[in-house]
């Protein structure tokens, strides 16, 4: 290996001279390199005022498109440390009454394992990264844009209930008609029952 190391042996004139040469050379090389940086632009950012641009794929804080979320809980299962908490109630007409979709940033490690499996692609990671809070409990962030149900949802539920009711009424009417028809054909009620049993 070709590098300067301490010469051994008695402190003769040559070693004395070499020490001086080494010292001067080391200092001059070092200084000449570092002095260049005096005249270049710094590469650092003054953080709170200036913010470093993040890459397009940057995985920051999550956001949820609650409109299209179908509350399938796949993201909850995919998360290795269970930091997503989903509570909802399913109503007729595939409407979810939302109680909670929260993310515990105490635990979340921004691994993005929850985003890809989402079947409808509604949980994303944004570009925001500073999440400074005074209290740990504030780090449990609710991703919901609304909770409970919206007017639209009530309409959907009502429509679904109406539809179901209408269907049931129709079925009942049909059955009644059939029964009436059967009654007209066969006057005896017992016979009708027997017939049904046989079927």
């Amino acid at each position: 290996m070709n590098f300067t190391s301490t010469p051994t042996g008695p402190l003769g004139l040559s070693r004395w001279l070499r020490n001086i040469v080494d010292t001067v050379r080391t200092t001059v090389i070092g200084m000449s390199i570092t002095i260049k940086y005096f005249f270049t632009k710094p590469v650092t950012y003054e953080y709170p005022e200036q913010r470093m641009p993040v890459a397009p794929r940057y995985r920051g804080l999550h956001y949820l498109e609650q409109d299209i979320c179908i509350a399938c809980r796949v993201c909850e299962k995919a998360c290795p440390i269970d930091c997503i908490e989903i509570r909802f109630e399913r109503h007729p007409g595939n409407v979810n009454e939302w109680f909670e979709f929260s993310l515990d940033y105490n635990k979340c490690m921004h691994c993005e394992l929850c985003c890809y499996p989402c079947p409808v692609d509604c949980i994303h990671m944004g570009r925001e990264y500073s999440l400074v809070k005074y209290d740990r409990s504030e780090l449990i962030v609710d991703l919901m844009a609304w909770d409970g149900m919206r007017d639209k949802d009530h309409v959907t539920i009502q429509a679904a209930i109406d539809k179901k009711k209408k269907k049931a009424e129709e079925a009942a009417a049909k059955k009644a008609a059939q029964a009436a028809k059967a009654a007209a054909d066969e006057p005896s009620a017992e016979d009708e029952n027997e017939g049904e049993d046989e079927e």
Binding site: M1, F3, S5, D22, Y58, M109, Y116
Partner: protein, 458 residues
């Protein structure tokens, strides 16, 4: 003096001059600026000479191996990031390749190249940190700043690919999360130019610097035989003259197709380790450049007529109406973090084994097979299930051979995971290297070990 109880380890002897001398016990660490990571060294000193050094590890134990038994195979990925947190991508690659070996699958060629590229970038960041920190502890703070600056440029590259700088979680069993960005070669070239400049400057500042060489050369010496008997691998072993590199001796991924040299030292002292690391960074850059040149091209971007880009949400709506034809051939535009993972990219970055890798969004929305595949992989009680068996897979980590030993009992999570951390072996030899040296030599020796608490204590 007789009334004072003496610690057993201290021996007092009367010097020829009549003065009593006695050994001194010095506690260095656990929280000492030179003990990066948390570690304690109890040194028995005779004057300035270290007579015995008791190295105490385990302060950063987090139960990685136990945690890896609790979550599914892909869920381990974030934990592997935290093993060697200076080069997390190599850990990702190592773990994935171990599980893939157990499953008996190979990943596409482009994916292997991508893995090699990200591993080598990580290796450079690791060596930059190690050399920079060692130099800083010897007083060359400037070098540390320059090297960290270069590391930042490389981490920007990593961020472009993975979306995170440190906690990358980039690999998945059977592939990687997303393809390289389209114009990756360009920023890569720029970052490497900066890194080369920094390396050259650091080389001028350090390699012929009298103070640096005086403190590095001849300290922390270990012979090749001793190093091998301790199980040391990586740059540490190569500095002793033994030529062993997992990338050359049992090549994985596409390392056998790439042309690179393995620098080997002669004396096994700190100076050689420094020189080996400096040269390895140059070689790693060479590997990345070759890989970028040789890798098979990514997907040809979608045909503008048939392959429209449709927002994923719209695609979902169309699929719900049953209007599959409206988007067949189109590609879903999911969030920006999922860039590079669509149907066009999947054949080149992920295995086509359906039992391992989640289907592309377009398939999950567009056909029932894709949807079932998706649910078979994400539902409880399903997921990736390797056959019964055990595998060991070594990769060349930045510090040496990083091995993952995975045992499966056929369930969706590993039965047992064991990591072979490269710096564990080196730490066991630390006492051997420190004994007989001066106390001031402990700093460069310990620095060149490049102890990473995360992988040492797991």
């Amino acid at each position: 003096m007789e009334t004072t109880p003496k610690p057993e380890t201290m021996t007092a002897e009367v010097h020829a001059s009549g003065l009593e001398t006695r050994d001194m016990l010095l506690n260095i660490g656990p929280a000492h600026p030179a003990m990066h990571g948390i570690i304690r060294i109890v040194a028995k000193l005779d004057g300035e000479q270290i007579e015995e050094a008791d190295v105490e590890i385990g302060y950063l134990h987090r139960g990685f191996e136990k945690m890896a038994e609790q979550v599914d195979y892909n869920g381990v990925m974030p934990y592997t990031d935290r093993l060697n947190y200076v080069s997390p991508l190599i850990n990702n690659v190592g773990y994935c390749m171990a599980v893939e070996k157990m499953l008996g699958i190979t990943v596409p060629e482009r994916c292997q190249y991508v893995r090699v590229i990200v591993s080598e970038i990580s290796r450079i960041t690791d060596h930059l940190t190690c050399v920079g920190a060692t130099a800083m502890e010897l007083g060359a703070f400037t070098v540390f700043l320059y090297m960290i600056k270069a590391r930042e440029f490389l981490w920007e590259l990593v961020e472009k690919v993975t979306g995170a700088r440190l906690t990358v979680s980039y690999c998945r069993v059977g592939g990687v999360k997303g393809d390289l960005p389209d114009d990756f070669a360009e920023p890569c070239k720029k970052a490497f130019a900066e890194t080369r400049k920094v390396l050259e400057e650091s080389d001028q500042l350090l390699t012929r610097n009298r103070i640096f060489t005086d403190r590095m050369a001849g300290t922390g010496v270990i012979s090749a035989e001793d190093a091998i008997s301790y199980g040391i691998t990586g740059p540490f072993l190569r500095a002793t003259g033994a030529d062993f590199d997992v990338r050359k001796d049992s090549p994985y991924a596409v390392y056998d197709r790439l042309d690179f040299d393995v620098p080997v030292g002669t004396t096994g002292d700190n100076m050689d380790r420094y020189l080996v690391r400096m040269e390895e960074m140059q070689q790693s850059m060479k590997i990345v450049e070759q890989a970028l040149r040789d890798m098979p091209p990514g997907p040809v971007l979608v045909n503008p007529e048939t392959g429209r880009e449709i927002p994923a949400a719209e695609m979902v709506d169309l699929a719900k109406m049953g209007d599959i034809n409206a988007f067949s051939g189109g590609c879903a535009v999911a969030g920006p973090t999922l860039e590079g993972s669509g149907r066009a990219h999947q054949p080149s970055i992920a295995t086509d084994e359906k039992r391992v890798f989640l289907p592309a969004k377009e398939d999950a929305y567009g056909n029932i097979e894709g949807l079932m595949n998706q649910f078979k992989l994400v539902m409880f009680g399903h997921g990736i299930r390797p056959p019964n068996g055990e595998v060991y897979f070594p990769v060349e980590g930045a510090n040496g051979e990083l091995g993952f030993y995975v045992v499966s009992d056929g369930a969706a999570h590993a039965y047992r995971v064991r990591v072979r951390p490269p710096c564990f072996a080196i730490m066991s030899a630390l006492e051997h290297m420190l004994t007989g040296d001066m106390i001031a030599d402990m700093i460069p020796t310990f620095g060149s070990v490049n102890m990473i608490g995360g992988e040492l204590d797991r």
